[in-house]
Structures are given as C-alpha cells and as structure tokens.
Symmetry: C2
Subunit: 757 residues, 2 copies
C-alpha cells in the first residue's frame, strides 16, 4: 500500500479533455455509418385515448422512405426496470402526449419528416389524470387499467395509480408528538424539470447477417440497454452489442432505453443502419425528466430544538409509466429523514401514474425535492424556536457511529465540519447584512450507489497500461478518477493509462454511470487488478534482480529492489515474449450495508452506502419590486471522503450547483391539460453562464472504509441542497417563504403581496 | 479434464460464416468513416536510381487534393523486423520499381490519381542487380551501400547483398560422402509468387486531438503494425490503436505494415480520415510476395537407400529490403534437412538483396521451395537405386523419439502413418497406370509457430461467453477452433461464444495470425482462462448447492453436483450482482524446445515447435503434345495432432493444395530488367475453381503434448508438398523431371524435346 500518493489526490488533466476541448471527440450524435438512414418517431397527439385507426400507407409511398414500423413490427412485450408496463409502441391505448406510436426510416431527414406528417392516427379520448391530486382521488381514472397484470419487482407496494409506496417506520411517531413541545406541518411542491444535457439522446443501429445488432448509443448504462433491448427485440443479450462512443451529458436522463430500440427495429426492417436523434421538443415532451412532487412534512421538536418525530409523505408524479419512479420514491424517504437524529419516523414515498411523459432519474433522484422540504422546514422551526438555523442543525445532525434512519451504522461522518466551514465561508454570523439581503444554509446526505464493476488491465510493452471497463464516461471525469487509482497502484502516470470503455462485448460488466459510483467502484476494481499485476510483476522482477519479492517496491514505473531496478515496460515486454503478457482482471462490488429490515417496506434503497455529507450556503439579495434574486456568493462544503482529483470534484460541485439553481429559480416543464406549453429552450428557462454565480468549493475529507483511498461518491450531492439553501436565504432576506419550486420572481412578488395583505 | 469431447473435434459451423457467406461482413477494404479522403501512393518508376528531383507542387494545386507527403513529412527512420533497412519513402536512392516515393490524399479517387500523374520525379540510374547470380557475383553492385550501418538483429550473418546466412551443421558431411555409395547433386529454382488474397491491402487512419491515431487495417498482426507505426510515426505505441475489422485472406502477405503508415501520415497532414487500398497492379509489383529461390542440393546415400550426408544451399531473392527474408532463410534449412534421419548435414539459407519488390512471407515460408528440392531429389535417388520412392522414404523418415536436425527430440511423429495412408489412398501399388499417367508422393514436416497469446474471458448473465483475443481471424477458422476449445472447457456450445478480436487497445497481446499458431496458442490461453473460471464457478456453486467443490463437474451449461445443479447463466448473473462478474484472463506461450545451439548459426528458427508431419500424393496425366497436366486425384494425409474442427481442417488442406498447385504449375511474377511484365490477374495465372482438383483429406491424429487436446498447427502445412508431389508424378508419368517452378506446360514440352534430342 502506498503511503504518500502521487497520482490520486492530484488535479491532473482529464483523459477525455483534449477531444472535448477541441471538438474532435465523437459522440453518439456524431456517429455515422455508410448508407445510414435517418429515423424519426411518430408520437401520440393525445394524452389519454384509444387509438382507433393508424394508417401508415401514405408514409410508405413517400420517396426515400425505407421503413415504417408500428406495434405490429415489435414483439408484444412490456418492458421496465421495476414494473414492466411500457410497450414499445402504443397499439391500443395511448397514455401521454408524445408516446411513440410508430417510427419511420428514410434516406433523408426531410423524407422522414414528410413520412411522419403522412401517418394518419385517429384517437378516441379517455378520461385523463393530469396531476397528483386527481390521480390519487378516490375513483380516479386509472392510467393502467390492467396494472395488476404487469410483472413487477416483488417488493413494490402497488395500488391503482400508485406504482409503489415505499415506507420507513422507526419508533412511534405518536410518542414523538407527545414528547414534542412544538409540531410543525408544511406542504411543499416541486416542478417537473429536464436534465438539460447538451447532446440529445441518439443511437445508431446496424444488424449483421448472423442476427447480431450493434447499437452505438449515448446511454449511461450500456449493459442495461443491452438487456432491455433483448426483451424488446426478443433475442439473446449476447446478440446485442452496445457501444458508447461518447456522451454529451446524461445526469440520469440517459439511464433507460431512449431511441435505441426504435433504431434497432427500423434497421432490422430496412436492412440498413439507422440513426435516430431526438429534437429539443421531443426532449421536453417525451424524455425522462425529474418528477414533480408534492411533499407533506410534519415534525415535532422540543423547546430546545431536539427533533422528536417526523412524519413525511412525498408523492412523485411519475407520468405514464413507472420508470425509475418506484426506486426514486424509496430513496426519497431516506432524504426526508434528513441527516438528523430523529427517534421516531414515519416516512412514505409514493410513485404515482399520471398521463404525462414518463419521468426518470435526474442527478440525486428525489434529493433536491425532499431536501427542499426538510431543510426549508428546519429553518422555519429554528425561527419559531428562536434558535439560529445553523445551531439547530448542529444540535440534531448525525455523528460518527450514529444510526441512520434504517439502522445502518454511520461512519466517516464529516457533516459538522461541512456545516461549520460552509457557515464560516459565507460569513454566517451576519445573516442579514442589508435590507433585502440574506444568507441561507442547508445540509444533507447522499448515497454512493453500489453495483458491481469489472475491469481488464494490461501493461503494454511500452510501459503504458490499457484499462478495459464497461463503465461510461458521461462527462464527470469519473473514469479519469478510476484511471488515477490504477496509475497510483501501478506506480505509473495518469497519461500512461489508456481507457477503453463501454462496449458490452469487449469490456466487462459494469453497473453503469449512475449514482455517483463510477470512480468509486471502477477505481476499486482497478485496485484489485493492480494487486494481481503487482504480484506478477514482483514475481518476475524477483527472478531478474535475484532478490526476494518482499524486498521489492513499485516506484516511478519500475519495480525497485535493494540494489537494482527493472522497468514495467521491460517486465511487460518480457512477459509478452514469454507468456501472454502482463494482464489481469479485477472486480468489485460494494459490500452490503447492514440495516434493520423491519423498518422498511416497498423499499428499493434501504441503506445509503458510503454516504457523503454536505452543507451549502448562499448570500443573496432579492429585489422586492421585481422579485429578482441576485446571488452574491455560493459555498459548498462537501465531504468527499478523499478527493481523487480536486479540480474535477470542483467541476462537479459547480455543475451540480448550476443545475440546482436552475431547478430552484426558473426551470419547469409546464403542462396544461397534458400538453407541454414550453417545449423549447426559449420558454424552458435553464440558467445560462451569466446566470450562474461563482461557487466556492470546500472539499472536506473524512475517508470512508470502502472507496478507493477513502473516496465517496461525488457527482450527485451538489445537486441536492441548492433549492433549500436559496429558499432559506430568500426567507432571511425578505421574510417570506416560498414552498413551491421553482421560486420564480413571480412567486416571490406574489408572496410579498400576500404578506402585505 | 474432460474425457469425452463434445465441442472440440466436431465439424461445427464457423462463427464468422454467416457474415462471409452473405456478404455482410465488414472488411478493412469496406470500412469507411465520414469525411474520409482517398489516399494513393506515388511509386518509383526506376529499379535502382538516384532520385534527383521530386516536384509535388502541381499535385497540390489539383482541386480536391488535401495532402501530398514525401520523405520530408515522415520521420527519418528505417524500419524492418530483422534489419532496419526500409525508409517510409525513398528520398535519395530508389531500390525497386514500385518503391513508395510520395503519397497523396484527395476527396475523390479521380483527384488522387490526377495528383499522382502531376508529381514529377527525375531519376539518375544506378547499376542494378536483378537476380541472385548478379547479386552474389564478386564485386556486384550493392543494393544497400551502407548496409553495415543498419540496425539488425544480432544473430544475423550479413555481408554485402546477403542480409542473412543461416546455417545448420551436424556431424561431418565429408565423412558422410565417404560413407555414401552414391552422391546426387541437383539445382532447383522456384519463382516469385503472390499470396493471391482476395482483399487487397487496405487501411483507414484517423487521428484525434489527443494525438492518438486509430488505424483500421486488414493486417494479420495488429500488434506488430502498432509497434512498426510507432517507429515510423515516432510516437508511443500506446498512441496507436490498430483494429482489424476483417481480413479477406492474408497467407503471410499481410504480416507487415503495408499501407497503414501512409494512411496515418496522410490523415495527420490533412486532418481528415484517410483510406488507402492497393490496386491489383500494386499488389503484383509492390507487395510482399514469396521469394524466388535457387537451391543446390547434394545428398549421399548407401546402396540400400540410407542417407549418409546432405549439403544444401538455398538462396532467397528477397528484393530491395530484408523483410522476412533472414527468418525465411533460417526456416528453409530445417526443411532442407527433410523429415529424415541424416547423420551429417551442412545446410545454408541465404537471403539476398536485389532490386525487386521486397519479398515477405507466404504460407509456410520457404516450405514449398525447399521441399520441392528435397522431395524431387528423393525420387531421383529412389529411381537411381531402384528402390520404390515410398520405400526409400520409409527407410529414412524420422520416428518417435528421434532427433531433429538441430537436436530437438521429436514426439508425436505421425509421418509413417501419413505416408502409408496417402499411398494407399492414391493406389500407390500401381504408380504408372497408363502411358502419360503417373503418381507422385512427397512428405515433409512443418513447425507450429510459438509466440504468446493472452485472452480475456467473461461469462455473461445469459450464459454466453465473451472471448477477447488480440488474434486475427484471417479466414482460416482458427478463432472458431480457439472458441471451440473455450466452449469445451466451459461446457457450453460454440454458438454461446462471442469473439471480440484484434484491437490493440481492448484485447490482450497476441503474436498474431501467422505460423499456424492461432487455434493452438489462443486455444491454450482459453484453457488457462477456463481453468480459472471453473475454479470461480465451482466455488460459488459449492456454496449454493451445499457440497464441496470436489463433488462438482461442468456439464451442459451447468455446474452439476451429486444432487442439484446450477446454470452458468445463474452463476454469472449472481456474480455480476455480487462482485463484478465471472471474468478471467488466460495466457499462453509455447514452452521452449530444447536444441543443440552449437549446430546453428545466424538462425532465427532453430527448432520446429510441436511439428506436424504430412504426406501428399497425386495421380495425374500429362499431355505430351501440349504439356498440359490433368490431375485425377490429390490426397493429403496430415498429422494434425488432434482435429479441433475436421471440416475446417479439410478446408485448410484444400486451400493449401489449391495455392500449392498454382505455385507448382502456373504462377510466377515475371520480371524483366526490374519491371514486372504480368502485373495483372489475366497474365499472372492463379488457378480458378475449375483448375483445382478434388482433394481427399486424411486427418491423422498423433496428439502433441502442448497444443489444446493435442492439436498442432494446421494452416500452413498443406502448402508445402504440392510442388514436389506433382513434379514426382510428372516424372513418373512421362519420364522427364522439371526442376524449376512453375512447371508450366511450356517447360514440360521443352523437357520432352530436350530428352528427345
């Protein structure tokens, strides 16, 4: 084991930087094959209706059109991770405006668009449910009449439009209410928002004569796309090669099959490679955005600010299909618990079907919504009890050795340090420095997703190292982090590592780029492979140097003995000459986290593995006339365990805050009667570079026991706290609290007028 | 160890068959990238000259031309495996007609060809050497004036135009002559011939902004092309990714960098992907054909046909650069020894520079030429001594436990069985069944080339298996053979194996598709990986089934215990869920073959590893008027050790015989004054389907100790014996012996007239 690190912990240039900076990197959207056709998807114009007629004959006659496919061309299957409820194409009932009904492939985009226009669909409307209230109302129309017949993960608690109810029950909230001096109850709502990745979803599919299809996709989860395509195409996964050339941002929005299945079906029908790339309108009407939510939160406290009980319900408007909703509802309950000691908990997460686009995962799924409620309410409680909000948090936060809400034992808890350093950096002592100006703070915790990772590693005869991983670089720098671990463990430089990634045929399985896990899990798999390689290198070097293996060390690209040394390049060359080369494999899975199974129900994420802790603080001004919010300073203190690459962690923090501020202040997919009103980037308001403040990142390191060098997941957490942090600062600045995201200027002005009345 | 085989030994359908049969397989020549330019090479019009002027300015002005490169654009390096004597482009001296002098890239083929025509080169002729006699004459002009300054493999014996002299000396030939009753001396010549692969050499190169170049090539040796390109481009090998999409035949002609370096240099200069594909004319004037040879052979025998001594010299006309000549000259001495017990040997192989295209390797390099001499002379001796040729061979052949010429101990020697079965199948007892009709027999031995192979293997959760190998499927079916080994060892079907091959970044090192080694070496690497996987599968299954690992066996895609069983799919799924997946790596290198180092000099192949033994026999008629040869039946009996896939071994035998008959009867690259006279497939006469007789394959199995299941190399041997077999049959048929290849109708008629005089 290295005691002083040389590569990890350094802010080295990302391995994917040159291509991305110069524009030469190939993304799935750039990928092209000779003879490739252009595919387009024909989508439902109705939110809930019976499809009574579908005539594609005119489309087929348009010059250049090579294939038109409908449900008749696809296997009669429903797919889905938690609930198998989604057909490839709607054939009978359409369930949201934008649902795929048919697809076309043509030699030009123009011909494909003309074909879409020539498809005739006739609908017979059905009673829709457009929001949580109507979906949950007694006797509400069902989005899926036959929901009981769908195959689903057994643990789910389903009923009608509820496709899962996850629950955590700890102690007895009634006793908690009795012990409380004050009880606070609030309702919060949050909007549906899009991940805003730069590159739209894109895929190219091409079949060969052996019945194998290769799909080049910008998915975050090539192995998941492979198995989903196997269901949809009704062929063995081993006949499906998914390759990810590059991903222009994912943020959870590219976890599920997007256009890959349509490309594959069109390619099969036409006998030609087919590429599909979504438009901006499709992204905002028929992708996998973050669920809007309704949150009811009731918390009991003693006079001195000790939490006695919490009851919470978070309802996710998950749209027409379950998607990741059932799991997200589970995670949400962990966030609702807060990073606090609360003896009595009754927390529920509901994933609810509505006739909207099927929502999915977005960087820390459920995190910003649930944390917005928890941390807004903490400030309300603090104000009501006359306790400083920072102080209230410090009295309640979890600490080393505490239990989490489901009974897991918490270690490497850097939360107090995060809170104190964020508060100090923002100048917490002066919370209201001027009229209309205020500071806010919020904190939280988040999981490092488990899942397994395998790698192949070989040392080349020039001393460089090839790393084969099934993981995907989605733009976070996580594979640079993993490569740093490998370089460190082998005593080489980061620039010596060549990464080959994300090919279901040539790389080992990886659970994929999700849940802040890539550098963590792939890094650990690299450690395992490096350990094997060290053994092989030392065995060979011991013979050459005439010393025992115990006397050897890896340093500066050499195996070093007491008197002589031999380079890795030479050892690899000799090994290649004399026995197949210096190759190894390594695997990793996060060990299970023990928790109390009796505390959970319908729960997909009953423990937070290697959790990270973080605190955000902001200093902002509100123009009381216009409602405009100006952020002066934003601070993030995040316990990353160990910073594998500080610069890229700062990048993740800055990016997470930028996205978080968009969700906090301006972003919302606006539906009216099942139709998106702002399906373009003019009306859907993402922050621009000018809208994002400078973010100060404070990296806190309480090394975990499992991650490489103690590292914890980094990518998602910065997205969790911005809504609450900003809401708290606005309340501090102008004395009104907005409980609905986004906190638009309009809502602020309305709230001020309300108070004035 | 499996006792009854289920997959190996079966004539299963090749894994690459569907793509090749339907035409959907992508070869390097098919490979295309968006924006790709067309590259062409400007070649010397002189065989030996000083290049006094090279003006490319007009070419650059042609519309569509994006790059013109000359020696000034390439690093000032000379490359080569044994002797570093070849520049990328000629800059001062040109050494053969066809040598690259410049290259162009343009948006169309037409523009590229126009650019070639617009390049002006002025030469000042130098005295050339066009054949072996003039190259070896005292005071001959030197093809390389500065040969002493070239870096070369130390063992080579170089002098002037001789770039290697390899030698085997055993006993004392003078004593051998003294013990002999008769001494026979002959000279033989053989022609320069082309490998005749269907797909011309082709490569596409594309650089990215990190300074990495990816080359899609139809090379047989991606790792060798990688390291050669590293020398030529003066960048690290790790910056060069060589991928082989598919190879339309190689036969040794695609062992060395062909057009890859030009494509890479043009792509760099133009900033665009560049593809180069050679024309038929380039193939026949500037590729790596088989060397023409001159062979002097002197053999002493006792009256009863026992060989007492042999002295042999084989001169290879290797062309303007050493290429594989030095090694081929070494191998030749092993073939000259014959598969015979000869106590005294003095054998030499010379590789000689001339001003012709640089010759290379062709299926069993040196084998057909040297065996033609050895086995022709054996028949002459037999006739002279009045001993049946089969009987003469049986009295002299090596047998189990004998020493080879350099002292290696021979095991698994199936030669007697091959001779007897070939003789029986051809009806040897009746050697001259009709006037003008005769039968011939010849035998030989050949090596299974060593070199190391590594593989990565993973079991997928659907029970299929991914095999990553750096080896190339060049059309022999060798990777099917290796996959059969893997399937056998893992208890799955061949159709369960997916092969990913030949990518210097994502696959482990492999010595490449050469020397009949692929199924042998990759198969053994697969055995190593499978052994690891079995351990992991058994360990996991033992826990699940509650039994000890000793009680388990692999059968029918399951690990089977005394009472229960669990599928590989389930074990892989669990392992993926619980620990990175069922992955393994395996390596193999053939162990060294002990030989007497004192017997060899300048020798690159001092022992034949896991040698194969074979006998060919033919029944043919000769039309004495026209000289036309009609083959009635051709028989091959080949000791393959163990037949991994009988059908594909038959395919190799049939293909090797077809190529062998072309070299025997019609093929010759005809040079006059350094210019190829027949640089097209009309005048260069390869056999067509109608010219090839039905071949009867007799598979003999004397299992070797090293190869998987005892397999030996299979691909090259069938190319060794056809010339001698046919020459012997012609002599039997019409009583004249032609000692010069090809044995054209014209030569037969001339020989008959000569005899008549």
């Amino acid at each position: 084991m290295t005691t002083t690190t040389r590569v990890v912990g350094q802010s080295l240039t990302r391995i994917d930087a040159p291509g991305k900076v110069t524009g030469s990197a190939i993304y799935a959207a750039d990928f092209a094959l000779p003879g490739m056709l252009c595919g387009k998807v024909f989508r439902s114009a109705e939110p809930h209706a019976r499809l009574v007629k579908l005539d594609t004959s005119k489309a087929l006659r348009i010059p250049g059109v090579r294939a038109v496919i409908t449900a008749a061309d696809a296997a009669d299957v429903r797919y889905g991770a938690a609930v198998k409820d989604e057909p490839v194409f709607a054939s009978d009932i359409v369930r949201y405006r934008g649902q795929p009904v048919a697809a076309v492939a043509a030699t030009t985009l123009g011909a494909a668009e003309a074909a879409l226009a020539a498809i005739e669909a006739v609908y017979e409307p059905l009673p829709p449910v457009f929001d949580l209230a109507s979906a949950l109302a007694p006797g509400a129309p069902l989005v899926h009449e036959g929901w009981q017949s769908y195959v689903a993960v057994p643990i789910l608690q389903r009923d009608g439009n509820v496709c899962n109810r996850a629950r955590i029950v700890v102690g007895d909230v009634e006793r908690g209410w009795a012990e409380a001096d004050r009880i606070f109850e609030h309702r919060f709502t949050t909007a549906m928002v899009h991940q805003g990745y730069t590159e739209p979803r894109a895929a190219v599919a091409s079949w060969d004569s052996s019945g194998q299809v290769t799909v080049w996709s910008n998915t975050q989860l090539p192995f998941d796309v492979q198995s989903t395509l196997a269901e949809i195409l009704a062929i063995a996964p081993s006949k499906i090669r998914v390759i990810v050339p590059g991903v222009g941002g994912g943020f959870g929005g590219k976890l599920r099959v997007g256009v890959e299945h349509f490309a594959a079906l069109l390619a099969k029908k036409s006998g030609r490679p087919v590429k599909i790339m979504t438009t901006g309108e499709e992204e905002l009407t028929a992708a996998y955005p973050r669920q809007g939510t309704l949150i009811e939160l009731k918390t009991g406290v003693t006079r001195d600010g000790r939490l006695t009980a919490r009851q919470g319900r978070i309802y996710f408007d998950t749209g027409a299909f379950a998607g990741s909703g059932p799991g997200v509802a589970s995670v949400a309950t962990m966030v609702l618990a807060g990073p606090y000691r609360t003896p009595n908990l009754f927390l529920e997460g509901y994933a609810v079907y509505t006739n909207k686009t099927n929502c999915g995962s977005y960087r820390a799924p459920s995190g910003p919504q649930a944390n917005f409620a928890v941390e807004s309410q903490m400030d309300v409680i603090a104000d009501a009890l006359g306790i400083d909000p920072l102080e209230l948090r410090l009295r309640n936060i979890v600490r080393e050795g505490d239990e989490g809400p489901t009974g897991q034992v918490l270690t490497a808890v850097g939360l107090e340090e995060c809170l104190l350093r964020a508060a100090e950096a923002i100048g917490w002592k002066d919370r209201r420095p001027a009229p209309g100006r205020g500071k806010g703070i919020a904190c939280g915790w988040w999981t490092t997703t488990g899942g397994s990772s395998g790698v192949y590693v070989k040392i080349n005869p020039d001393g460089t190292v090839a790393l084969n991983t099934g993981a995907v670089e989605i733009g976070t720098g996580a594979l640079t982090g993993a490569a740093q671990v490998l370089a460190e463990e082998l005593g080489v430089d980061l620039t010596d590592i060549n990464v080959v990634s994300a090919d279901t045929f040539s790389t080992p399985f990886d659970f994929g780029a999700q849940g802040s896990r890539t550098a963590f899990a792939v890094g650990n798999a690299c450690r395992a492979a490096a350990a094997d390689l060290r053994r092989a290198l030392f065995a060979q070097a011991a013979l050459l140097l005439g010393v025992s293996e115990d006397a050897l060390a890896l340093r500066d690209k050499h195996v070093v003995g007491p008197e002589g040394r031999v380079s890795l390049a030479e050892l690899a060359r000799q090994s290649q000459m004399a026995g197949g080369g210096m190759i190894a494999h390594g695997t990793f899975i996060a060990p299970g986290t023990a928790y109390d199974t009796k505390r959970v129900e319908g729960h997909a994420y009953p423990a937070f593995h290697s959790p990270s802790f973080h605190a955000h603080a902001v200093d902002l001004s509100v123009d009381e006339e216009t409602g405009e919010v100006t952020i002066h300073k934003y601070v993030v203190a995040q316990d990353v365990g160990f910073a594998l690459n500080p610069t890229y962690i700062e990048g993740q923090i800055e990016g997470g805050v930028a996205q978080g501020l968009g969700q906090t202040l301006s972003e919302e997919i606006v539906y009216r009667e099942g139709r998106v009103l702002n399906a373009n980037l003019t009306d859907y308001k993402m922050p621009t570079a000018l809208d994002v403040p400078r973010v100060e990142s404070i990296i806190v390191e309480h090394p975990g026991l499992i991650g490489p060098y103690g590292a914890k997941g980094v990518g998602e957490p910065p997205n969790v706290e911005p809504p609450a942090t900003v809401a708290n600062a606005i309340a501090a600045a102008i004395g009104v609290r907005v409980t609905s995201l986004p906190i638009t200027a309009e809502k602020i002005v309305m709230a001020l007028r309300e108070r004035a009345r």
